[in-house]
Amino acid sequence: MKVIMLVLLGMLAGCTPDKSAPTPSSSASTETPADPVAVAQPVSGHIAPKLSEIPEGPFGDSVRRGAAIFFDTPGKAANFVGNSQSCSNCHMGGGRVADSGPMWAAWGMYPAYRKKNNHVNTMEERLQGCFTFSQNAPASASGAAPPKGDPVLVDLQAYIFWLAKDVPIGKEMPGRGFPTPKKPATGYSVERGKVVFDAQCALCHGAEGQGLRTSADHQQFPPLWGPESYNWGAGMHRVNTAAGFIKANMPLGKADLSDQEAWDVAAYINSKPRPKDPRQVGSLEDNDQKNHDEDCLYGDSHEGKTLGVGVSRAL
């Protein structure tokens, strides 16, 4: 039996590595401190205000609603969410944590040009992107992200603006985004990633990546693949992005995987089925050429199947 190691699979077919990928954040937080007390120190230049400090009045009410949407998006913005993902699943601590896509570091950087859609995006349009891809809005009740001006987007922006209090406009803040760990010289391996997943991730996210739902309205641990996860167009489907998120944040509260383990398990998770890329209008091959010039497994052949076909919720 021939065992095919998917080392550097991203370079073999389909997606090609994104050569324009941003360089890793230079913040010191990517180092693993030996002293646990060192971990307990703030790791960024900004400490966002606490939820208990949200002011009274109409603006504060909007911030509070925005926070509630952020922590429970399928429950509080149900019309626009087509899976079981909340904003806070990827933006830890309600979007306040450095190296975990903190919202305060994003606020002052928009409007910004995005290669993804080849035009300048406002924060509002950027948030629509999260709904479309990470929260798979095409499978939602409305079938799309909230329209511009929708109260969901207004409240989310009020919350994000409030988190960014005193952060300079236009300044790249330390801790922004997810720092990409150094890609191992020998690449990554889906097979090794499965070993990491089974040992470190399955405890919460389930052996089949299904997450854990404890009641109709409570998702305790988010699904990592399958119809309830992010789709093939979400940033997290890129191996480098997922590796960065995992390295900085997982396992929750511990975050002690090696760079190699983070890349391997990111590849394993992103070799699994998930909802189709909403940008695919023609063939999968065409969409791969057009939209997946990046470090991902979209369009690759894996275990006899082409990745990216897409899985849907049972109706």
Partner: protein, 224 residues
Amino acid sequence: MLQRMFQKIAFAVVPVGVVLFASGMIVQAQDDPVKAGARIASSGFGGVPACSSCHGTRGQGNPVAGFPALAGLNATYLERQILDMKAGTRLLNPAMEPVVQGLDATQIQAVSAYYASIPAVAGPAVAGGDVARGKELVEQGDWDRRIPACSQCHGPNAAGIGPNFPRLAGQSAMYLANQMGAWKRDERKNDVNGLMSTVAKRLTDADVAALGAYLQSLGEGGGQ
């Protein structure tokens, strides 16, 4: 015709009746584990004292002495703790020595099933703890110090999630503080993948006091 049908029905019914009777006997012989556990909890077994003498008649524990509440804990979690004490991989209070020596695996399972089956109760208010800060740590954590919310693993209102993330709501503040100390000093190490010991090391004494004050006050559904 009618008679033949009747005979067929009678013939079909008899074996079912025999099976039901036989299975009833088996259940009776093995006893209901919850009932067997309840007997050990209230009356002890051989040289094993009644669990209730320290853990309370309703499994509410003894908050003042730091004896943990057991009511409403996940059965598998509880069973594993006792087995870990038996195996020497979890430190134990000397009062637990005869318990882990005197109960076999089946009895430990039964006692665990019993305590899992009874409702958790809120403990008395703790004097001096910062309840509001405890609530904040449980629901939001303190991410500026890389402390996740307790609820992210232990569930809403820390009511517990499966066998790995035990219920904390209603737990004795003193017991919780003792365990946090044990995690910090690496004296307790039976958490899965070192998840709890990592977080415990980031908690200050003030955090632990606040958590205890809030968690001990939580009742059945985790609400106050």
